[in-house]
């Protein structure tokens, strides 16, 4: 697509051919009122406020595509009259309740009513009763709804659940007489407004989606709000603290909205999480899992002194997880260099080895894709990741690409996922044999690789591969259809393969895919800062004699979890620092709440490192790993009007000379009938998400309705889980309506349930026997 010039209100603007005029205007700082358009989603033409004149003809700027030399006028007497009439219509029968409404102060209806100067009304029509709905995390007040359909659009085009739709409102028919007395667009809008409200797409009584809450974020009025937040605070009282998602590696921009707890208690409290909904979707755990802070009364100097003594005398290993900042990882690395501690972090070390193997064949230490390249491509493949729960934002990017770019794609996973399969009819979901990921990598190389340049030993028979993976033979035909007119490709790979028995080889195959196929690869870091830790720390495989654990269990444990561990540490919403996101971006996060105890930097200082603040290390992050020497305070954390992600900085990739050879495909181990997957349910990622008051739940064995029927079990029954080595677990079984097939999954977020014995070598699939307790 080529660059062109268009004129908006006399200003020359550079645009990409076919881009929406509204977006060009926004990028150039020209204001056009718009209520219903959500960036990166399809225009619905519900509000008609974005009316402009294109070459003397009326057009709606949110769906008018830029053409060379076109001239746009955003304001004229006629347009302004029409816009005013539209706002007048929106205000008909709109309850006068700004005084209590949660949106007041940031409400587009309020803003545009004032902007268009609506101070009186000419129209009237009898009102229809519109009851409010309580949809779990979400509260819908239909009488405030202006049926802009932003919620419907974002749910379909961005999130992929498509859980909302417009339903008949049962309102009075518009009397014909208004037609002549009302402006054209205003009348058309009114006609539609009068007919619909928002309902649950499945027709069920209550909303049953993955509860990302994105609809509440895009709703321009107070119709959709978080149930927990309802009537708790006015928008203007909340102080927005910019931060990054602490729960998963998308590290999306979010704001902690903070205010004093109550009249009696002046301590700051997080009331909700808000986002830049036009540019960065948030998943539900980020939106609702904000209050995981660690509260201590003061500095526990006894425990601190003990920790120092231990570190000086006995500790030889520091074990930690990847829910830490880059700076903390750097402190740990410095401690290692100074005192020779072993650093053990299983998840980061697995990822580190995977990326290392990948770089041997790809020639770069980092993969080339990111979520932006995914959402801009038109053919997306994913394997090795339960997208919906492992990395919802990668799922959103995939769904966005499928919906907005007329895209198609393949989703490979042994656990069937109705939500992901529902993204698009052009997404082929392949429920494959457990462990077939290596064959899938070979398949992609053989289907998409450049046969001339590729080493000959990689060539394999496609049909043979299909049967190894467990796919139908008509796949090739279907694929051919899907590939019509596709020219940009992305591949998402997730954590199933990092501990795959053939992980190293899969990584090397991915490197070759990166080089010999048009795919841009994304290798999703499994936890928030797995990528950062794997770049900064030299990790060791084995623990030594005496371990200091940081957020993992050790002989002495530092913990950011409320009431856990021997010495309390600040949680990620109480810390400033940076994360390295899956987009290979170093993004800043700020402290929303204060912490009265000690932090890792205090320990390091007591051991002889010198830094006043943890963020003093931001500029010292290793430049030979691609970090920049930049002060924390100089890192921006915003999106600008064009949607440009002005957050932190991008890591610089390192290049190596690379090799071509990989191991031949090895046989897929037969896992038999009874397999259990290790995954967390929607909205859970770790013990931290489970600490949030809205998300807190007890873990269970999650299974599909099909599985329950197959095993003759009911939701809530107790089951016995055993493996060949004799490890046992008694646990409740819980119906997860959003999975299908016969593979149930065990979670890791609940600290009361230890599933590690079942997944000893870290591989996410295990052969386990499940028996109902009553059926013995």
């Amino acid at each position: 697509m080529s660059e062109i010039l268009i004129t908006i209100d006399g200003k020359q603007c550079v645009a990409t051919e076919g881009e929406y005029v509204l977006n060009v205007a926004r990028r150039n700082g020209i204001f056009i009122p718009a209520l219903c358009y959500v960036t990166n989603c399809s225009p619905t033409l519900a509000c008609r406020l974005c009316l402009v004149e294109v070459d003397e003809k009326r057009a709606y700027s949110c769906n008018a595509r830029a053409k060379e030399g076109m001239s746009v006028i955003t304001k004229s007497e006629e347009i302004e009259k029409e816009r005013r009439a539209i706002m007048e219509i929106y205000d008909i029968n709109h309850p006068l309740e700004c005084g209590v409404c949660d949106q007041s102060g940031e409400c587009d209806l309020q803003n545009y009513t004032l902007e268009m100067g609506v101070d009186s009304q000419r129209h009237c029509i009898p009102d229809t009763p519109r009851p409010t709905k309580n949809w779990g995390f979400i509260h819908y007040d239909a009488s405030l709804c202006i049926v802009c359909e932003r919620c419907v659009t974002v749910c379909k085009d961005m999130i992929g659940d498509a859980a909302l739709k417009t339903v008949p409102r049962g309102g009075a028919e518009l009397p014909k007489e208004w037609k002549d007395k009302t402006e054209k667009d205003a009348y058309a809008m009114w006609n539609k407004l009068q007919k619909s409200i928002i309902g649950v797409a499945s027709g069920a009584q209550t909303l049953d989606c993955t509860f990302c809450g994105e609809c509440t974020a895009v709703c321009p009025v107070g119709a959709l709000v978080g149930s927990d937040f309802q009537y708790k605070s006015n928008a203007w009282e909340l102080k927005k603290i910019p931060a990054s998602n602490p729960h998963s590696s998308d590290c999306s921009l979010l704001y902690y909205d903070v205010k004093h707890t109550s009249i009696k208690d002046d301590k700051p409290k997080i009331y909700r999480v808000s986002s830049d909904q036009n540019y960065a979707p948030l998943h539900g755990a980020a939106r609702y899992g904000y209050d995981f802070e660690n509260v201590v009364e003061g500095k526990d100097s006894t425990a601190f002194t003990k920790a120092i003594l231990l570190l000086e005398a006995r500790v030889d290993t520091i074990a930690f997880d990847s829910y830490i900042t880059n700076e903390e990882a750097f402190i740990l690395q410095k401690l290692k260099e100074k005192f020779g501690y072993r650093l053990v972090n299983e998840d980061a070390s697995t990822y580190q080895q995977f990326l290392k193997a990948f770089s041997q064949t790809s020639g770069s230490n980092l993969y080339s894709g990111d979520l932006k390249t995914v959402s801009q491509s038109n053919f997306v493949v994913s394997f090795g990741s339960a997208l919906k729960t492992d990395s919802p934002n990668a799922g959103y990017a995939m769904n966005n690409a499928l919906g907005m770019n007329k895209g198609a794609g393949l989703y490979f996973h042994p656990v069937a996922d109705p939500i992901v399969s529902g993204y698009s009819k052009n997404l082929l979901s392949i429920t494959h044999k457990v462990g077939a990921e290596e064959a899938i990598a070979y398949l992609l190389l053989n289907l998409f690789g450049n046969k001339e340049e590729m080493p000959k030993e990689l060539l394999m028979d496609v049909d043979a591969l299909l049967s190894i993976i467990g796919m139908e033979a008509d796949f090739s035909e279907k694929l051919e259809k899907l590939l019509e007119k596709k020219d940009s490709f992305s591949l998402i790979v997730g954590e199933d393969v990092y501990k795959h028995p053939k992980a190293e080889n899969i990584a090397q195959l991915l490197g070759l895919i990166e080089r010999f196929t048009p795919f841009k690869v994304v290798i999703i870091p499994s936890k928030t800062n797995t990528l950062g830790v794997s770049l900064i720390c030299d990790l060791d495989a084995q623990r030594g004699e005496y371990t200091l654990g940081y957020n993992v269990k050790g002989d002495f444990t530092l913990s950011a979890l409320l009431g856990k561990g021997d010495l309390a540490m600040p949680a990620l919403n109480q810390q400033e620092g940076t994360f390295t996101s899956m987009n290979k971006r170093v993004v800043p996060t700020n402290a929303a709440l204060s912490f009265k105890g000690y932090c890792l930097n205090d320990l390091a200082n007591a051991l002889g490192l010198e830094a006043e603040w943890t963020i003093d290390y931001t500029k010292e992050l290793p430049s030979d790993k691609g970090f920049e020497a930049r002060e924390f305070d100089s890192l921006p954390n915003t999106f600008d009007n064009s949607g440009f992600e002005n957050r932190g900085y991008l890591l610089r990739p390192l290049t190596f000379t690379c090799k071509d050879c990989v191991e031949p495909l090895s046989e897929v181990e037969n896992f038999g009938e009874e397999v259990v997957y290790q995954a967390n349910p929607v909205l859970q990622f770790s013990a931290f998400t489970n600490q949030a008051h809205q998300l807190c739940e007890a873990g269970a064995l999650y299974a599909s309705a099909e599985f329950l029927e197959h095993k003759n079990l009911k939701d809530g029954d107790m089951v016995h889980i055993t493996n060949e080595e004799g490890d046992k677990l008694v646990i409740a079984i819980k119906l997860d309506p959003h999975t299908a097939g016969l593979i149930p999954y065990l979670p890791t977020f609940d600290t009361k349930i230890d599933v590690t014995p079942f997944f000893k070598d870290g591989y996410r699939f295990a052969k386990l026997t499940i028996k109902g307790v009553n059926h013995e």
Binding site: C98, G99, V100, S104, D119, S120, Q121, R122, H123, C124, I125, P126, D127, T132, Q230, Y231, K232, S233, N234, W236, E237, H260, S262, I263, K264
Partner: protein
């Protein structure tokens, strides 16, 4: 004016300098000055008036506390929270406008949603240590819920004794006894309000 102008410390052009009166140099001059400043003709005018009124016994002083003045409705004393005349429910809807407009930032309120899905104000406070009785809160209130009372006798051990919701809200018994008065002062609708608003057509 720019910053540069402010930084110019040369004050000469715009100022008129006053030299001051000449200081007495000896004891006699000092004595003359003290005498001139102390004894003036007007002194006796004042003394005469006091004496005259005293012998007439025509006293204007309000005999407080036996006697109290009627305050004007525009008098701005400690706040009151009013109830709706029809139902007796609290008028305050918790919109937070008073909290927002208050220039001393001394209003705070806690709100939440109740079982009937309504917004309730569970607590409302004014910190009278900071309130400057400007009346903005009463003026901005869309419900005429917070108003200035005219109770000026505010003696107590603590200012906080007046600042809680329970102190300001019309007590129910008083309300039932029809003792709550509509507030005619700051922020109340003007008498000709009907003429100044445009009416919205109604369909029913």
């Amino acid at each position: 004016m720019e910053l540069r102008d402010f930084q110019n410390r040369n004050i000469n052009p715009g100022y008129i300098f006053f030299e001051g009166e000449t200081k007495p140099t000896n004891g006699w001059e000092s004595f003359k000055r003290v005498f001139k400043r102390s004894i003036k003709g007007e002194l006796f005018v004042g003394l005469w008036i006091v004496f005259r009124e005293m012998i007439r016994f025509d006293i204007h002083t309000v005999q407080y506390p036996a006697e109290k003045l009627e305050m004007s409705p525009r008098y701005r004393a400690i706040h009151k929270l009013l109830r709706l005349f029809e139902s007796g429910s609290e008028r305050c809807i918790g919109c937070g406008l008073c909290e927002k407009i208050c220039i001393s930032k001394c209003i705070r309120m806690d709100t939440h949603v109740d079982e009937k899905s309504r917004k309730v104000v569970s607590e409302y406070t004014i910190n009278f240590g900071r309130c400057i009785f400007c009346g903005y809160c009463a003026e901005v209130c869309p419900e005429l819920a917070i108003v200035h009372g005219n109770e000026y006798e505010n003696a107590s051990e603590q200012r906080a004794h007046f600042g809680l919701k329970e102190d300001m809200l019309t007590p129910l018994d008083e309300f039932k006894a029809k003792k709550q008065q509509e507030f005619p002062g700051f922020g109340a609708l003007s008498d000709h309000a009907n003429e100044t608003v445009k009416q919205t057509p109604l369909a029913y």
